[in-house]
């Protein structure tokens, strides 16, 4: 039996008459997390984790009907059991567990296994069918210990200070920059933010995530001495007029893609820090294993290699063409608002 199937508007549960992360307006959308490629405008009802209500609202506005469900609590939608379980990707990100007639499916959304103080840690959920992302689904992607990466970032910041340069650190405005913030050492110097980052950081603080103090760079005098500061900005700000005010500066991007030299060089950045909010290859395999699933649907990313690998391990794996983009390696800066 197929509890979820792919339609032109996304993953659909026919029995329960709801969608998971649809990409078109539907009546009822269960949303794994608030990144743009997982949220459609104009749905009648949204359901997301209680932890994630704030971030989802910040994207959809005050008029959207957003329901919050605590992790692990089970509700029934037209007779289908639905519960949400932490995915560890960004604040409020969840996996959606769907159960009907003894059949259990889990949609992972985006997820990671590495510790992250800004979100509840990933939790493996037993199921028959697991729908997993595959953004970094190749064995070349093995994250270095992430606390080590954060140490390197702090060291880079100190080094730039000594060279009299501002440190411009790019990361996605929702999720990555808050995780960076939690790992930065505020004793080194002032932490400044781009408008888009400041907005999302305020949402995190409102949700009770403890983060070091930040100042919106736009609120400061342009003649400020920036050389001791670290400025957090979305990748789309790179090369923009906005960055010129900082004078002598070093640039870096925190993303899983930065593990590969070519991806960093293409952007002409000074540094690339491999800090990712997605599972790496060993993490992905461990997650699949922990679910005990016999059937695995693989979405956005390196679907081909992951499907083949899982098939060779004896699993019933196939690729599902969704419109999720995962951590897209480009400058569209999906969750960036205009600079303010």
């Amino acid at each position: 039996m197929t509890l979820l199937r792919l339609t032109d508007r996304g993953l659909y549960c026919e029995v329960g008459n709801f969608f998971v992360d649809p990409w078109g307006a539907v009546d009822r959308a269960v949303v794994t997390h608030a990144h743009g490629d997982h949220v459609a405008w104009g749905c009648r009802d949204y359901l997301t984790s209680a932890e994630g209500v704030g971030v989802l609202r910040s994207r959809l506005g005050p008029d959207a009907r957003v329901g919050g469900l605590p992790f692990g609590e089970r509700i029934s939608i037209n007779g289908v059991g639905v519960s949400l379980h932490p995915a560890g990707h960004i604040l409020g990100s969840s996996q959606v567990r769907v159960e009907h007639g003894g059949e259990v499916w889990v949609v992972s959304g985006d997820y990671k296994m590495d510790p992250d103080p800004t979100t509840t840690a990933f939790e493996a959920v037993r199921c028959h069918t697991f729908i997993t992302e595959s953004t970094f689904g190749l064995p070349i992607y093995r994250w270095p210990p992430q606390h080590q990466v954060l140490r390197d970032i702090n060291a880079w910041w100190r080094g730039n200070q000594e060279a009299g340069k501002a440190s411009l650190l790019y990361g996605y405005a929702l999720g990555k920059t808050q995780r960076l913030l939690a790992g930065l050492d505020p004793a080194i110097g002032p932490i400044l933010t781009h408008g888009a980052v400041e907005r999302m950081t305020a949402v995190y603080r409102a949700a009770g995530v403890p983060l070091p103090p930040t100042t919106h760079a736009g609120s400061l005098d342009r003649r400020t001495d920036w050389s001791r500061a670290l400025i957090l900005a979305p990748p789309s700000a790179d090369g923009s007029v906005w960055t010129r005010r900082f004078g002598a500066r070093a640039t870096a991007f925190a993303s899983g893609w930065m593990l590969v030299r070519g991806a960093r060089r293409r952007r002409s950045l000074d540094r690339g820090f491999p800090l990712s909010d997605h599972v790496d290859w060993p993490g992905l395999l461990a997650a699949v294993d922990a679910t005990g699933a016999e059937r695995v649907w693989v979405t956005h990313g390196f679907t081909g290699p992951v499907v083949r690998w899982l098939q060779e391990q004896g699993l019933d794996a196939s690729a599902v063409e969704t419109r999720f983009e995962g951590d897209v390696d480009d400058d569209t800066g999906q969750e960036d608002g205009p600079e303010q």
Binding site: P139, R265, R266, R308, W309
Partner: protein, 530 residues
């Protein structure tokens, strides 16, 4: 090895020239001479030949990483670089020891040559577990013969000058030609006494810069000469100590490759260095470069090929006469001496004086450039009469002014991922033109688009793939590009029946639909020069 790997990383991580020079100079100051010599050897592009085949390295790496070969290939396609793929796939184990660079090269790398497969395999697996990630990357780059880093020879020379106090010009000269990366060589390289000379050593080549802006900005036309710009092999012909040496700009000694030119060189007076272009030449015209490629491709030069593709040196500068370095005297004087020298040398037409293009003013020079294709040249070189013979590519005194390339509107048919900084992006394209209602592939091009355009084409390729053949994607014929290229020839090896030289994307014609692209007939018409 750690210090060298750190240097590599430092050079790789910055785009600032000052920081690169500082990193290099710090390395040269601290490294033992034996390491410094090898570092210079590698940094100036003298890389070892590939010692182990890619296929073997892939198989051994897959084995060490416990993955099937197909997954290695998928990983390689995503990374775009063999050495880096291996680095990323292997478990992180090593890094405890720190033997010197020279130890790794002399005791571990070079001995791999000619070993049987079992020994090479065991050695590779061992080194991979001994080195840390950074060192392993550099090591793999050396093994695969792909060691390159973002530092030009010029930067290395500047850093050496900074570290040693020896003038940059002396360093550059000492680095030309043949040398072995030994501690003794390094000692000679940074020796303060700069009166040394090596009989075989060429001078650093002076290169023309592409012309920018209007001709009038160069000042009065009388202060300039124009010569044809040939598409040959830039060379220096040296006669010293009773011996003749022919060098390419790639600092390759061309001994035995152009015997007719070397023979003519032996007729030159002692202490002579000519700068010019090696060209296949019949009468007073060059043959197409494809003819030269026939010769370059051969190990043994038979009588037939020597007769069919005779090569000459078209000489345009005289750098040394009677053992004296003439580079600092004005070009006008050097030309006069060159003219007299060639007239007095019975070279049987093997040493040809590069003729000046007759022109009274800039208008006539502009006119002359239009005739370049008729004489088999690819444009003009403009040189200031008062100019010295400099080092490297500099703006100011020598300019190259190429003719407008051919151009054709073609449709994107196939795409392949690129490598290096374009890894994982679809950047290598095959283009087709219309023939009887069907597209025929006619040229491949990789360059000419901005990063932003590449990203957009990449997204198009991913969303409009019709078929996949390994790494090649067949895409919906929709995007039209203006391709520019320098030459066009009949070819039996190409499906379209033509081959073009240096094709690249001049423009993305977003205003054109696929059906508006050019036809094979139009392209063929270019075969007859206008």
């Amino acid at each position: 090895m750690k210090a060298f790997a750190r240097l590599y990383t430092a050079l790789d991580e910055t785009t600032a020239t000052g920081e690169k020079i500082a990193a290099l100079a710090a390395y040269f100051s601290a490294a033992p001479p034996s390491d410094a010599a090898w570092a210079i050897h590698f940094l100036t592009g003298r890389r070892p030949k590939r010692l182990v085949s890619s296929a073997k390295l892939a198989a051994w790496c897959a084995e060490a990483a416990a993955i099937p070969l197909w997954l290695f290939d998928e990983s390689h396609a995503a990374v775009g670089d063999l050495a880096e793929t291996i680095t990323l796939l292997l478990p992180d184990t090593g890094g405890a020891g720190d033997e010197s660079l020279s130890h790794w090269v002399e005791q571990r790398l070079l001995p791999l040559k000619g070993q049987d497969e079992a020994v090479q395999r065991a050695e590779m697996l061992r080194t991979w577990t001994e080195l840390d990630r950074r060192e392993r990357f550099v090591w793999n780059k050396l093994i695969t013969g792909t060691f390159r880093v973002g530092a030009s020879s010029r930067l290395v020379e500047r850093a050496l000058a900074l570290a040693s106090g020896v003038p940059e010009g002396a360093i550059a000269h000492r680095l030309m030609g043949g040398w072995e990366p030994t501690p003794e060589f390094f000692a000679r390289l940074v020796a303060p006494d700069v009166r040394d000379a090596d009989v075989s050593r060429p001078y650093p080549f002076y290169l023309a810069y592409p012309l920018e802006g209007p001709l009038e900005a160069l000042g009065p036309a009388e202060e300039w000469i124009a010569e044809w710009k040939w598409d040959g092999i830039r060379s220096q012909l040296i006669r010293r100590a009773g011996r003749t040496f022919l060098w390419s700009r790639g600092e390759e000694l061309l001994s035995g490759r152009f015997p007719e030119v070397e023979e003519a060189g032996s007729l030159l007076p002692e202490g002579t260095v000519l700068d010019g272009e090696l060209l296949p030449w019949v009468g007073d015209m060059p043959l197409p470069f494809a003819q030269m490629q026939r010769r370059i491709g051969r190990k043994v030069l038979g009588r037939k090929i020597l007769a069919e593709v005779p090569v000459v040196l078209v000489a345009y500068d005289l750098l040394e006469q009677d053992g004296h370095d003439l580079r600092a005297i004005p070009l006008a004087d050097r030309r006069r001496r060159l003219d007299a020298l060639l007239a007095a040398t019975p070279s049987a037409g093997r040493l040809v004086l590069s003729h000046l293009v007759e022109a009274a003013d800039w208008t006539e020079i502009t006119e002359a450039r239009r005739r370049a294709r008729d004489v088999g040249a690819e444009g003009l070189i403009l040189k200031r009469l008062g100019s010295e013979y400099g080092v490297g590519r500099r703006k100011g005194d020598w300019w190259k002014w190429k003719i407008e390339p051919f151009s054709v509107d073609a449709v994107l048919m196939y795409a392949m991922p690129g490598s290096g900084r374009r890894a994982g992006l679809y950047t290598d394209y095959t283009f087709g033109v219309w023939d009887d209602g069907r597209l025929v592939p006619f040229a491949k091009a990789y360059s000419g688009l901005t990063d932003e355009e590449i990203r957009r084409v990449d997204a198009f390729v991913r969303r409009n793939t019709q078929e996949k053949h390994g790494p090649v994607r067949v895409v919906k014929p929709e995007l039209v590009f203006e391709l520019a290229f320098e030459g066009i020839q009949v070819s039996s090896r190409h499906k379209s029946g033509i081959a073009v030289r240096f094709p690249r994307m001049a423009r993305w014609r977003t205003d054109k639909r696929a059906e508006d692209a050019d036809s094979l007939q139009t392209v063929r018409a270019l075969l007859t020069p206008p």
